[in-house]
């Protein structure tokens, strides 16, 4: 396993903490009725998100999904415009037109997030194909869940990426549940990674709670992709502590064993990584506390920015449908 240097490891920890505190803040705002629509939190999944994103170069591409507040943060995006977007403010990354499920920050290679399960998979293949045709050496990381691996998209995308040896890394965030349906109830194979065999590409299962493990796997896969050897399917075993989405829908449904949740929380990625940093002599308790404080301040500042930002001009709803507007057409 290639070990990232101490500075990189500290940055990994910071980004994991950012995602955790960001989503906790989003939950608080949602519970107070401040967020339109629905939100899908990834609390518990921070290690695989950050491990994968930080294994890429800054200008590599990344495609997310509906549970994707963490993905752009993992890729290095600033939190203020992301939070402003979730609140529907004019300063949001998408100007308030996308919201929680469509956060995109193209400045850090985040090519957007689709709330249609699985639909980002072929888009990621296309981004990678485009990168290869342009010869810029970039790869595309594609996040998707275990649920998406049962969409036709998964199979079409893996087949095309493999047939064409496209520089893409498929990262399955297997949190065991599609909404309330356990993956084991809708698939006869326990692991998504085994499906790689059908497409002639490597399939690897990694501990999604350990950012270093995910980092190493994605780094190898990205290098392989850059070398022209094609795609890799990596399955990170992880868990989301919250339900599929926030709100009262799940209050009276018991689809998960509380012991299962507790077992995963016992290996929470944040203390796990903090323990590693201490053990490796990279961060002592004082430094970890400083990081905690700094991230809390960052999130507070992002929140202040988002809350104080103006609402979009209502006229903006009628703009931006086309990139090339057509003179004289009011819908253009």
């Amino acid at each position: 396993m290639s070990t990232p240097d101490p500075a990189t490891q500290l940055e990994m920890y910071r980004r994991m903490l950012r995602i955790r505190r960001f989503d906790e803040t989003v939950k608080t705002l949602f519970d107070r009725g401040r967020i339109p629509g629905s939100v899908h939190l990834s609390i518990g999944q921070e290690a695989e998100v950050v491990g994968a994103c930080m294994a890429l170069a800054g200008d590599d591409y990344m495609v997310g999904n509906h549970r994707s507040h963490g993905h752009p943060i993992g890729k290095g995006a600033a939190m203020g415009p992301l939070l402003a977007e979730i609140l529907g403010k004019a300063t949001g990354v998408n100007g308030g037109k996308g919201g929680s499920m469509h956060l995109a920050d193209f400045s850090v290679g985040s090519l957007g997030e689709s709330s249609i399960v699985g639909s980002g998979l072929p888009v990621a293949v296309g981004a990678a194909l485009g990168a290869r045709m342009q010869g810029n050496g970039r790869v595309c990381l594609c996040f998707f869940g275990d649920g998406a691996s049962n969409e036709g998209y998964f199979h079409e995308a893996l087949n095309m990426a493999s047939a064409w040896q496209v520089p893409v890394v498929f990262l399955c965030e297997n949190n065991s549940y599609g909404v309330t349906t356990a993956f084991s109830r809708v698939s006869r194979v326990p692991d998504v990674a085994t499906r790689a065999v059908a497409y002639g590409i490597p399939g690897e299962i990694v501990d999604g709670q350990d950012a270093r493990v995910v980092y190493a796997a994605v780094q190898n896969a990205a290098q392989r992709a850059r070398d022209g050897a094609g795609p890799t399917l990596i399955e990170a075993k992880t868990y989301r502590y919250p339900h599929h989405s926030e709100g009262p829908l799940y209050n009276n449904i018991t689809y998960r064993d509380p012991a299962e949740l507790a077992a995963w929380q016992a290996r929470d990625p944040l203390p796990l990584f903090a323990g590693h940093l201490a053990e490796a002599g990279i961060a002592d308790a004082a430094l970890l506390a400083d990081i905690e404080q700094a991230i809390s301040a960052e999130v507070a500042s992002a929140l202040e920015f988002a809350e104080q930002s103006p609402w979009p001009d209502p006229a903006e709803a009628h703009r931006g449908l086309y990139r090339t507007p057509i003179a004289g057409f009011d819908h253009a």
Partner: protein, 323 residues
């Protein structure tokens, strides 16, 4: 001037654009062997990377085109048969059409989706769709339906250079038709309807191959002293409303002819536009001739009569003018 067929004009547009801009590439099923006749010689000239045969994965390769467009390429997707677009519906509707808006202008999808319309050919219900009207319900897509080889080349070149997703529907009834096509580079702007024939008694707005039928009908009607103006919108999104309304203001009568289905169709949309903004110039009720709201049968004996032809147009026009 030299003449080309409709298909040759499309091939030439693609070849010229690929030569002009290395970001342009074609992907679709069986494109390198030129099975459908619009990519002849392109694989030989530009290589299999840029004339890319795909697996039979319509939603997948549509998503691939969108992803490539997001990072700066300009793909042309060849669906070969418009009915296959349904397999890619999610990518067309939820991704291609929504990306520029949903991401607040951070990105756009400069991709062209070519779809051939095969009907009246005994291909039965699943290969005979004339489905452009369905996509008019999707904000964010631009839609072209050329009726001449000249326009096919000029509209396709405009589509390739456009920064938004464009669906280009190629009426199979026109594929073999010949017409004058300049060899040089020219663009036909979207949203400008063509007046194919000037007249004073009746406006006929016709889509795709029905322009030809409408012109034939106008010839027949002229012999009976009826002067028909024939309008070809060329693009349905944006729709050249001004040209249509100006024509109806002159003639006071309107008939729309389309091989698509009747309900919620192109003809209905154009007539609604006239009813809303041109009502006071009307001298007769509005009229549309379309395919019926039926599935397309296989037997030629059954499919016959499904699409409005010259005789039907003449009859409808006479009824309107004599009303």
């Amino acid at each position: 001037m030299r003449e080309l067929t409709f298909l040759e004009a499309i091939r030439e547009a693609q070849e010229q654009e690929m030569a002009r801009d290395e970001r342009v590439f074609i992907l679709g099923e069986d494109v390198s062997f030129n099975v459908y006749g619009s990519t002849g010689g392109l694989a030989e000239r530009f290589g299999l990377d840029r004339v890319r045969d795909t697996p039979i994965s319509e939603s997948g390769f549509t998503g691939v085109a969108i992803g490539a467009a997001l990072v700066g390429m300009r793909p042309i997707v060849d669906f070969t048969i418009a009915s296959f677009m349904y397999l890619a519906m999610d990518q067309l509707v939820s991704i291609a059409a929504k990306t520029a808006y949903m991401y607040g202008g951070q990105a756009h999808v400069p991709a062209v989706f070519r779809a051939a319309l095969f009907y009246n050919g005994g291909l039965a219900a699943q290969h005979s769709d004339r489905n452009y009207a369905m996509f008019m319900q999707v904000p964010g897509l631009k839609i072209a339906v050329p009726s001449t080889p000249h326009d096919a080349k000029g509209l396709l070149k405009s589509a390739i250079r456009d920064d938004d997703p464009v669906l280009m529907f190629e009426d199979g009834a026109l594929w073999g038709s010949r017409g004058e096509v300049p060899e040089d580079d020219y663009l036909i702007p979207f949203g400008q309807a063509a007046v194919r024939r000037e007249g004073s008694d009746l406006t006929i707005v016709a889509i795709g191959s029905r322009v030809r039928e409408a012109l034939a009908a106008a010839d027949t009607l002229a012999k009976q002293g009826i002067s028909v103006e024939v309008i070809d919108p060329r693009t349905l999104v944006p729709l050249g409303r001004a040209t249509i309304l100006a024509s109806v203001a002159k003639t006071g009568r309107a008939l729309v002819v389309d091989v698509g289905h009747r309900s919620c169709g192109v003809a209905g949309e154009i007539l609604a536009t006239i009813a809303e903004d041109g009502f006071w110039s009307l001298r007769a009720p509005l009229k549309r001739l379309t395919a019926p709201d039926m599935q397309i049968p296989f037997s030629p004996a059954l499919e016959k009569g499904f699409y409005p032809d010259t005789a039907q147009i003449v009859d409808a026009a006479l009824a309107l003018v004599q009303d």
